[in-house]
């Protein structure tokens, strides 16, 4: 190699270095810009979340207050003017109160649903058998008496957020009880199995069932397959179930046939339980 070649090489190398330096400066500027963008976005998300929280607080507080007044004054009218009101008048007042109550439930359900989006989940090991006993005790205390036979034993322990899983099981069980309540011998069977890296839990009832062609609507918010006269409800319960299970990286699905019962399934990832603290 002669000298000219050397200096040519040097020139090329210098140019390359200059080019690289320019690129570095450009990249650095881009990085600063995109960091700024991320900060901006984070700030906006934070603001939106705060807005949403203020909004749900306002919805729950400000909508419930007038509802209580509607329900209360209808009741007072019925009590204090019972001699003036005939039975039709009393019935109409009853409808006013029923609807105020229904709207109260609707507001609560919607808030539960919207809160789920923001809530962080804390997983622990959950004894599903014990959890079902707890949920059944809640159901017995709350709603009207049911005569469903509820069968389960030795269900696999789950790794999940205790309170959220409790909500899932409460919704599935109260649905099963509700939709089988018109059968002579309502029966609900809860089972679990371990399959392909998943824990699968199923809730089967021998109730009203559903037509599989509406399966897509089943888990949507405010979607119902029955009228309120047949079976009361707000149409939020299964949407809540789905949202909670998705937050746990699980799946939900259902099988059924009209008048021949329904089975609801959910799955949870089968995580190594030794690494998780107990929560009974």
């Amino acid at each position: 190699m002669d000298k000219k070649d050397d200096s040519d090489d040097l020139l090329v190398a210098n140019r390359a270095i200059i080019f690289q330096n320019e690129e570095k400066v450009k990249r650095a500027a881009e990085l600063v810009a995109s960091n700024k963008e991320v900060d901006e976005l984070e700030k906006r998300v934070k603001e939106r979340t705060e807005d949403l929280e203020a909004f749900s607080y306002s919805v729950s507080h400000d909508l419930r207050t007038p509802l209580r007044a509607i329900s209360g004054y209808a009741k007072i009218l019925g009590e204090d003017y019972s001699t003036v009101l005939d039975s039709e008048g009393q019935r109409l007042l009853g409808e006013v109160r029923n609807n105020a109550k229904k709207m109260g439930v609707l507001i609560d359900d919607l808030l539960t649903f919207s809160r789920l989006g923001r809530k962080a989940i804390t997983k622990s090991r959950v004894d599903v058998n014990k959890l079902i006993v707890t949920v059944l005790a809640d159901i017995d205390r709350g709603t009207a008496a049911h005569n469903a036979e509820i069968v389960f034993s030795d269900l696999l322990p789950a790794v999940a957020d205790y309170n959220l899983l409790r909500q899932v099981i409460a919704n599935l069980l109260s649905n099963a009880i509700k939709y089988s309540s018109k059968k002579e011998e309502p029966r609900i069977v809860i089972e679990s199995e371990r399959k392909n890296g998943e824990l699968i839990y199923s809730f089967s009832d021998n109730g009203a069932g559903f037509d599989m062609q509406f399966i897509d609507k089943m888990f949507g918010v405010f979607q119902r397959l029955h009228s309120d006269d047949e079976f009361s409800g707000t149409g939020v319960g299964l949407a809540i179930v789905q949202r909670i299970i998705h937050k746990h990286d699980g799946r939900v699905w259902a099988q059924g046939k009209e008048e021949q019962g329904a089975t609801f399934f959910f799955s949870l990832p089968d995580i190594d339980k030794n690494s998780i603290v107990d929560n009974q």
Binding site: H61, R64, L67, G72
Partner: protein, 146 residues
């Protein structure tokens, strides 16, 4: 009435909620010595014998304070903080009543020394039951601080 024995002090800005609560307490014969004040500022004047309650015997302490949280000007938390920060009033049981369980202030209320925190049910029968039960509990069952 200001210097008679006060049993319940109801601090509530919503006249409907106040009327419904008073009715429930009246039906349970718990409303004879009830005072209803419509905002936090009035409540503080009453408790500390200032402003329009100047000269009230402040040793005549209510057995129970029912406190709404959401009030204009001086809100429930501010009233609670002042009640619990004052030697003369801090042993009076304060039951916080609010419309919403979404309330971000539950933990603040407890940190400030609230004795109980209740969500007012929408349904009137349940609301009346809640109010009556808490009236019975705090006025008749609970042993007050002497």
């Amino acid at each position: 009435m200001e210097n008679n024995a006060v049993e319940i002090l109801l601090i509530e800005d919503n006249m409907n909620d106040a009327e419904l609560a008073i009715r429930a307490l009246r039906k349970a014969n718990l409303s004879n010595n009830l005072i209803h004040l419509k905002n936090g500022a009035e409540a503080l004047e009453f408790l500390f014998g200032t402003g329009k309650f100047e000269g009230r015997d402040i040793n005549n302490r209510p057995k129970l304070i029912l406190l709404d949280l959401k009030m204009p000007k001086v809100d429930g938390l501010e009233v609670l903080a002042q009640i619990k920060a004052n030697e003369r009033t801090k042993t009076i049981p304060v039951v916080v009543l609010t419309s919403s369980k979404e309330h971000p202030d539950i933990s603040r209320a407890y940190l400030l020394g609230a004795n109980s925190y209740l969500v007012k049910p929408v349904e009137f029968d349940e609301f009346a039951k809640t109010i009556t039960e808490l009236g019975f509990y705090w006025l008749l069952k609970n042993q007050p601080h002497v």
